[in-house]
């Protein structure tokens, strides 16, 4: 490592300026979150009489407890649960149907294979934002408003995941499938015994990305969950703001905001290697 930057490396004051620049960047990134955290530990009175304090107060347990147990429209604990179900449903659902599709595309020759491939590709061009009204109508007709299946199903087709698994399956040596055939493995047995265990790093990396994608959904839950008991936490925050001129209850809202980012942030930091890998590979 020592010679990696070699003579181009900055020395002395230059080095400190580099650190200073980065620290300013980190501070810019952290500041909004720090403020939110401080606001979630103080009293409403501390906030509505600006300027609010810049150091945490002593109302941490009170504010978070109130948010989790009663919230504003619905207990935040319920919304967290809804978000968890939705994020897991989307991540696991996308992975499952993409694995099966990729397996079929790579290891079989069946009529319509090419067409199917292009159909999946086309879904890239149809993000939920461009088909909101008709998709909403479909969900409404199925009676899936305010349901987990309504939250999850329209989002689990995945071209990216299918392509990623296809790409990976192509790199699995042909001989492995042949050896499995000679060993007597039928296709699905090969899939579960050989292919799936070999894909686990890819699956994990993709899971990190898809979990965050699912957790952070906003527009779709906003449309189809009219019942506060079905709100997800990310879209539920906005619902906590009173209409009209009333003061929002900032400590509760900010506690909820912190709670909304803790699970995905833990996933990103805890699985940093997998996260970076998933991010880079899913964009290839």
């Amino acid at each position: 490592m020592a010679e990696r930057n070699g003579m181009v490396e900055k020395r002395g004051s230059g080095l400190w300026l580099t650190h200073l620049g980065l620290i300013i960047g980190v501070a810019f990134i952290f500041f909004p979150i720090w403020l939110a955290f401080v606001a979630s530990t103080v009293d409403q009175q501390d906030i509505v009489r600006p300027p609010m304090p810049l150091l945490p107060g002593d109302k941490f347990f009170e504010n978070y407890g109130r948010a989790l147990v009663s919230g504003v429209n619905a207990p935040v604990a319920t919304m967290l649960w809804n978000s968890l179900v939705m994020a897991l449903g989307i991540a696991l659902g996308k992975i499952a149907i993409s694995l099966l599709s990729a397996f079929a595309i790579v290891y079989f020759r069946f009529p319509g294979r090419k067409v199917f491939f292009w159909l999946i590709f086309l879904t890239l061009m149809l993000p939920v934002e461009v088909r909101i009204v008709p998709t909403f109508e479909v969900i409404a007709n199925f009676g899936m408003l305010n349901s987990y299946s309504g939250l999850i199903l329209p989002l689990i087709a995945s071209a990216t995941a299918t392509f990623l698994f296809r790409q990976f399956f192509m790199t699995v040596p042909d001989e492995l499938a042949e050896a499995a055939r000679v060993d007597g493995a039928k296709p699905m047995r090969f899939f579960f015994d050989i292919l799936l265990p070999m894909s686990r790093t890819n699956i994990a990396a993709l899971f990190v990305i898809l979990f965050i994608y699912g957790w952070n959904q906003y527009l779709w839950p906003l449309l189809i969950t009219t019942d506060p008991e079905m709100n997800t936490i990310v879209m539920g925050i906005k619902q906590m703001f009173p209409s009209g001129d009333d003061f929002a209850h900032w400590p509760t809202i900010m506690a909820t905001s912190i709670l909304a980012m803790v699970p995905p942030v833990i996933v990103v930091i805890g699985m940093q290697k997998l996260f970076i890998r998933g991010l880079v590979e899913s964009e290839k």
Binding site: P173, E175, L176, E178, A179, A180, R181, V182, D183, G184, A185, R189, D193, I194, P197, M198, R200
Partner: protein
């Protein structure tokens, strides 16, 4: 206990014929090596026996039973792949046991069969390791072990030694031979390496462009090649070919092996000496004839090495001459 019979087996991919009809009867316990240059169709032939490729026409029979349309697992065969094809996420034990598990062999019997094979292959200390924790030679043994535990009627080997370094290749070659002797299982072995073919085979099939040019015991094939291709492919350095017209013959070419040519002051032909390779026990002398043909002479190390640029005569005796007609077939 199995025989294997190929009866005019052909293979085409679309309109391209890759195998033009190969027939052979393999006896029980026989070790057959299919040898030929890359692209000659030898692997395709093996894969048809394995059931990994469909047979376009002709028949494959194992123990007299036609298996053309039988799935690989039901053919009673086991295969060792070129890159071993070990399941990377399974331990050595599980790799060997996988086929037996699928066949629903009782657990104690699986353990016993894997243990026996592991002992035979000196793999016992490694049973719980993953393939990536093994050396090349050990992986090779696991691939063999996976074939052995199934107690198949026929072993199929697809260039199993080509990924090993030279020293290990010689060692594994001997091991495979010893193992096959001990187990007495009918074997079909594909390689492009003629030394492997010569040393391993009871009989070998020399393939050339989708045709079995010659089938026979290694030394018979070496001594009596049926075609110009076989004469050139088997033997190292290869047979020298000389235009028959140059030495008073008719059409076609004659072939003389390097060890059958002697350098002399006068000879049937003269040639200019190029470079020489002194290998210790013998010396290879490379020459060029007047019409530009390359000639290699293998002579005893005790004989003097001619200087570069000298003109020497080449002589040989008539019984060592192989005559081939214009189409490459041997004339007797």
């Amino acid at each position: 206990m199995a025989t294997l019979k190929l009866d005019n087996v052909k293979k085409s991919f679309g309109k391209t014929d890759v195998i033009h009809g190969v027939s052979v009867d393999v006896e029980d316990g026989e070790f057959i090596v299919i040898v030929g240059p890359s692209g000659c169709g030898k692997s395709t032939l093996l894969r048809m026996v394995a059931g990994l490729e469909t047979v376009t026409s002709g028949e494959v029979r194992i123990n007299g039973k036609r298996v053309n349309d039988v799935e690989p697992m039901d053919r009673d065969i086991a295969m060792v792949f070129q890159n071993y094809a070990l399941y990377p996420h399974m331990s050595v034990f599980d790799n060997m046991a996988y086929g037996l598990k699928i066949a629903k062999v009782p657990k104690p019997e699986i353990a016993e069969r894997v243990q026996t094979a592991a002992k035979l292959l000196q793999l016992e200390p490694y049973l719980q390791r993953k393939p990536r924790e093994l050396s090349g030679g050990q992986r090779q043994r696991v691939a063999m072990g996976r074939a052995i535990v199934r107690k198949p009627a026929v072993f199929l080997f697809d260039e199993p030694l080509s990924n090993l370094d030279a020293k290990l290749r010689v060692q594994m070659r001997l091991e495979i031979k010893a193992l096959q002797r001990e187990l007495g299982v009918t074997s079909l072995y594909v390689t492009h390496d003629q030394v492997e073919a010569m040393t391993l085979a009871d009989r070998m099939i020399v393939m050339n462009a989708g045709v079995a040019d010659q089938i026979g015991a290694p030394l018979d094939v070496y001594a009596n090649p049926e075609t110009e291709f076989v004469a050139g492919f088997i033997g190292s350095p290869p047979t020298n070919f000389i235009d028959a017209a140059l030495v008073g013959g008719q059409s076609g070419r004659i072939g003389v092996r390097p060890e059958h040519i002697a350098l002399s002051d006068t000879g049937l032909l003269t040639a200019t000496v190029g470079y020489s390779e002194a290998l210790g026990a013998e010396t290879l002398v490379h020459l060029r004839t007047g019409d530009g043909a390359q000639i290699t002479v293998r002579q005893d190390a005790a004989l003097p090495i001619p200087g570069e640029g000298e003109t020497r005569g080449l002589s040989w005796t008539d019984e060592n001459v192989m005559r081939f007609d214009a189409s490459g077939l041997r004339q007797h």
